[in-house]
Symmetry: C2
Subunit: 494 residues, 2 copies
């Protein structure tokens, strides 16, 4: 066996542990009864330690050296590079820190589920402080090893190559035109008459509709399923993708658009190349690219009148409301492109969404860099919400700084991916339009060419290219936020 | 840290891996889409290898030696003995055999799900041959190490201390009176008028009823849940017990009695002592004792008129059939104590059930001892079914030798536990009756004293006593099959 082959086998073992973690994590969020959490957290922490021990095995240094001297195909060279990068990243953190993070994060996340409902910032912040402390330790270690700043070192986990410097530039650009754009859109939409569909929309019917729409969007049910969790996510493994949603019987569109979003994530996972399964090179390129696929499905593809022409009859049938004009294609389009500043990021429209991300980015950046503390969050949150969206969150932690799951388990550096994803998605759509008439395809109920384009340019590329190169190959240029602005102007001001 | 403490810590680690295995196994049977199976099987096989490596760690030999010289409490001495027994048992098998068994069993089981429906013995037998071959290897290794016969060595895994010699004696006794008893009961029941409830009984209503009955039986939903699988089971971990059932819309009693059965298993698990959690001494004593708890719930407790007085109104309400005389207490009692030889073990009444077990016992015993081959099974099955129950299974593999999940993953030696469990359960009930009037308690809707008795005499004992000693402490005598015969005569011929 060559050293390259030994490394592949080692990675496959890691991938199997990741599989167990993905399924037990999915179960924890969507199936597990409350009393099971303590033992589950401990079991998953043990798994994280075992994964960490394998991922950091010191004898791999020698294997990498040998493998690099072996005669490899061009593809194996790329795969080897990604295995080495992954090993180096893993080696940065000591096992006891990893274990503490898993345990502390899991406990914080679990408690958050009820604390959020109770608006209990006091209790939550105690847990969060422990999580932040461990994330700062992680950031410090990563920073020292990479020469990046502490926050940049975390950012690099989710979006390799992205920096605070570039984000500050991108986001201050957005901040320069976004408030004005929101204002203009709000004025334009003032004149629109939009009907709010009146519930109840029974959960069972919403579920049927979700499954039907997932089918239309090409979700492969032989390799995945849909369930319910407090905070929707896409988990599992490429051969068994688990997406979740939450149903609100008064508002079916929130679950429906959420399902479409997660279906975008799922198709990326299901579309990853089988020949690299279990290897780093076969994984999704970055969190931003992942989000670009969900937002491509949810925003670029679905929130348009041609798509609602397709969706509206399905919804009318599902709820047996064929004469309800609130469920007409036209009304659903207006409803789902409605722009209104609100408290909740996951319920935000695509125009105000970047404001939510920028707010979180600025807070977590300063938190990790040590410029602010956990106790400062509520006041900063309130101040920035006022500034960007004109809303106060004073004393309202539930709809303020306790609304997201991300920080509970220490995923600092993740939030920017959402807006990067929106920008990538707009750029992909702009490139796709040069090759095909997307609206006509949707009207002709022929989505396959759209999926094929994504499959060819994104899904099947997995991590064989850098994010930059993936964008250049697919669209002819590096990330260009102008496509996002153009998309918003086209959709909301024309 | 003492060596005893080091051993405890090591066992806790093993217990965490077992936790992951239990949840992923539950998921595989109740949630996983078909296309996820290959990767899941591989991931679980990897976990089995890791568990095996830890469970067999050679340095434990020294730890055991040191710990045995340490000053330990009486309880720690027992715990140490169980840890050592568990380590010795694990050390018998080489890692590659364990991995092959996990993989082969998992694949055989998964394929069986569709092959059974298709009555495809040919395809199934190819997989089963591989499973049997590996089980024979296992039996051979265990036999050499323990001095037991090959089948006895497997039996010892599930029912420590039980032997072919004792089973042959017990079962030939049963065979001596069972056919005649069945005959007498059949004649007596000929005169009874029993109404068959007419479906449909919608799955959702059956589920509600199941949850309600589980609640009455003290199932702790903070530490467990109910789902659906092809073959019902009780899985998960003591802090998160996962039971499953399958619903038949034409017959609600099969799922209901199944749920009661699994609830018995679940309460044993949920009732295991918290202070020994994760350690061998804190686990269920044996599969036979486990089955005694499920059968205590399903047979001793539930299939009696006082209990159906309690159940019948719940069922009438659940299905909104308050005037359906087929759902009266009297009729449900007759229906659920109906004796009729049938093909399917899991649907069998408690009188004919032992015949199904003895048939399987005789076949698997001879299969493991090498006296017969997989290809011989269908003919033997048919012959014994004719002999014991007067039914032919020629060419009907679905309802014959392909009906059970057990052999698919190599669980040879397990079947006797069912009838041992029935015998233990009858003996527990006989002892309990000396302390309380069970019927009056049920009529008074006060089940707590019954559960308390089981908790004190069985659940909280976990593995601190041998099976023999547990029986003696709880009932004053060793296993005495006469209690079982008396129970059948009392219930079915009086
Ligand atoms: Zn997303
Ligand atoms: Zn059972």
């Amino acid at each position: 066996m060559t050293f390259y082959e030994k490394l592949e086998r080692h990675q496959q073992k890691l991938s199997k542990l990741a599989h167990l973690n993905a399924i037990c994590g999915w179960d924890q969020a969507s199936m597990m009864p409350e009393g099971g959490n303590e033992a589950r957290s401990e079991a998953m922490a043990e798994l994280a330690v075992m994964h960490h021990e394998l991922a950091t095995a010191s004898h791999l240094a020698e294997w990498f050296a040998h493998a690099e001297a072996e005669s490899l195909t061009k593809e194996q060279v790329i795969s080897l590079k990604e295995m080495k990068r992954s090993w180096q990243m893993s080696n940065l953190l000591p096992a006891d820190l990893v274990e503490k993070q898993s345990l502390t994060g899991s406990k914080c996340e679990h408690a958050w589920r009820s604390q959020r409902t109770e608006n209990n910032w006091h209790a939550f912040s105690k847990n969060l402080e422990k999580v932040v402390e461990l994330s700062r330790q992680e950031a410090q270690i990563r920073a020292e090893a990479t020469g990046l700043s502490r926050y940049d070192a975390l950012l690099d986990i989710y979006e390799p190559g992205m920096t605070t410097k570039e984000l500050n530039k991108l986001f201050s650009d957005v901040k320069s035109w976004l408030p004005n754009l929101i204002q203009q859109v709000r004025e334009k939409q003032n004149a629109e008459k939009v009907l709010t569909p009146v519930g109840p929309f029974p959960t069972e019917q919403q579920k049927s509709l979700s499954l039907e729409v997932m089918t239309k969007l090409g979700f492969d049910f032989k390799h995945g399923r849909l369930d319910v969790s407090v905070h929707p996510f896409c988990g599992g493994v490429p051969t068994d993708v688990r997406i979740t949603t939450r149903y609100d019987e008064e508002d079916f569109t929130s679950a429906l658009m959420g399902v479409i979003h997660e279906t975008g994530h799922a198709r990326y996972e299901q579309g990853l190349p089988a020949q690299w399964r279990g290897l780093p090179v076969g994984e999704a390129r970055s969190m931003g690219i992942h989000e670009s696929q969900s937002l491509f499905f949810e925003m670029q593809l679905s929130r348009s009148e041609p798509f609602f022409d397709l969706l509206a009859p399905l919804a009318s049938d599902a709820f047996e409301r064929r004469d309800d004009s609130a469920l007409s294609s036209k009304n659903l389009t207006l409803l789902n492109t409605r722009v209104k500043p609100g408290y909740i990021r996951v319920d935000a429209d695509e125009v105000t969404y970047p404001a939510h991300v920028i707010l979180r980015y600025e807070i977590e950046r300063d938190l990790i860099e040590g410029h602010i503390e956990v106790a400062d969050i509520p006041e900063l949150w309130d101040k920035k919400m006022m500034e960007y969206l004109g809303l106060t969150t004073k004393c309202n932690y539930t709809d303020g700084c306790m609304q997201d799951i991300h920080w509970t388990d220490g995923s600092f550096g993740y939030f920017p991916s959402y807006t990067l994803g929106a920008m990538y998605a707009a750029q992909f759509m702009a490139a796709m339009r040069k090759e095909m008439n997307v609206e006509n395809l949707i009207r002709g109920r022929n989505l396959q060419p759209i999926f094929n384009w994504l499959d060819r340019h994104v899904w099947k590329k997995a991590s064989t290219l850098s994010t930059d190169q993936l964008l250049i190959d697919a669209t002819g240029e590096r990330l260009n936020a102008e496509h996002f602005r153009t998309h918003l102007v086209e959709r909301y001001l024309k």
